[in-house]
């Protein structure tokens, strides 16, 4: 499998549904991939253990992953509000709580309307497990070091989630209303990604 790894976002998107054979292969094949791989390996907190699982999820499982991903980012934001003194980071964290809560409410309302119960699955569990490790790691940081880590993670996390939603969940969702909600959610998460990119630059 030949991948072009130059942009980090491409790597993340590909990683969602094509597990890399080994990091060593990538290093051997593409020297240009090294910075992207290193960055992604350091920043992306929650790549599913078996990324191919994501493409096999049904609608109830997709709904669970999306709500779970929202809740994980809300958790990161609450941690940021507890630890940061940077006003821009605080505002970003408050926006994440506000927006992801709104998306979760819409998803819950749709699930209720469709009589669909979000079903736990391996991808959700993997996201949650890795986010817990990341929270434990970020909790040890303070001040500017925390701000940088939080900003970089938000950028990487939204790239990752956007890749999954755009390339896997939207094409695979069967229900039209769920698909529409995912498309609207993707617009939100893409705006967050752009906002996070600004924040990364601001806290350097």
């Amino acid at each position: 499998v030949k991948h072009t790894f130059k942009p980090v976002h491409s790597f993340v998107a590909i990683a969602v549904f094509r597990p890399i054979r080994t990091l060593g292969d990538a290093f051997m094949n593409r020297r240009t991939a090294i910075p992207s791989l290193l960055l992604a390996a350091c920043l992306v907190p929650a790549l599913p253990a078996n990324a191919q699982d994501a493409s096999k999820l049904n609608d109830t499982e997709i709904a669970h992953v999306v709500v779970n991903a929202d809740e994980i980012d809300i958790r990161y934001a609450h941690l940021a509000l507890a630890l940061t003194r940077n006003p821009a980071v605080r505002e970003f964290a408050q926006t994440m709580i506000r927006d992801h809560t709104a998306v979760t409410e819409q998803a819950s309302a749709l699930a209720k309307k469709l009589n669909l119960t979000p079903k736990d699955n391996a991808v959700s569990q993997d996201l949650l497990k890795k986010s817990e490790a990341l929270v434990a790691d970020m909790r040890k940081l303070d001040g500017a070091a925390f701000d940088r880590r939080y900003a970089e993670n938000e950028l990487a996390y939204h790239k990752f989630v956007n890749g999954a939603v755009e390339k896997v969940f939207i094409p695979n969702a069967k229900n039209a209303e769920l698909k529409a909600l995912l498309q609207a959610g993707l617009k939100t998460f893409q705006a967050h990604e752009a906002h996070a990119e600004m924040m990364v630059g601001a806290v350097k």
């Binding site: 408050q94 926006t95 506000r98 927006d99 709104a102 609207a184 959610g185 939100t188 906002h195």
Partner: protein
């Protein structure tokens, strides 16, 4: 036509012209619509007259605001699927943003 009649007619016209502060030739105050969709204000630039109202309709899932950059006016939070109106009483060119998503930007030009 007698002079007094002309005077009365002129007075009447002046009274009509300035009733509610709006010249008759400017027409009645209008309501314009700005949609908030996919994290954009649409249209991005709106020209209104003093006394006109803009209805901001949020078609996104998440809350937004329409807030003058120099803070002279603010719609407050507009929840996803909701709308808020703001009446423009002052002439000027206002660049506005969403307080929650500062990359979103629009312009309102208020003419006399």
């Amino acid at each position: 036509m007698p002079a007094i009649s002309r005077y009365r007619r002129a007075t009447l016209v002046v009274a009509c012209v300035f009733v509610s502060g709006h010249p008759v030739w400017a027409g009645q105050p209008k309501t314009h619509q700005v949609d908030i969709s996919a994290f954009k204000f649409l249209p991005e630039r709106v020209i209104v007259r003093v006394g006109d109202t803009i209805l901001f309709v949020n078609k996104d899932l998440v809350p937004h605001t329409a807030t003058a950059q120099e803070a002279s006016w603010d719609t407050g939070e507009i929840r996803g699927g909701a709308e808020k109106a703001y009446k423009f009483e002052q002439v000027g060119r206002f660049v506005y943003i969403c307080r929650y998503h500062p990359a979103m930007q629009g312009v309102v030009e208020v003419k006399p």
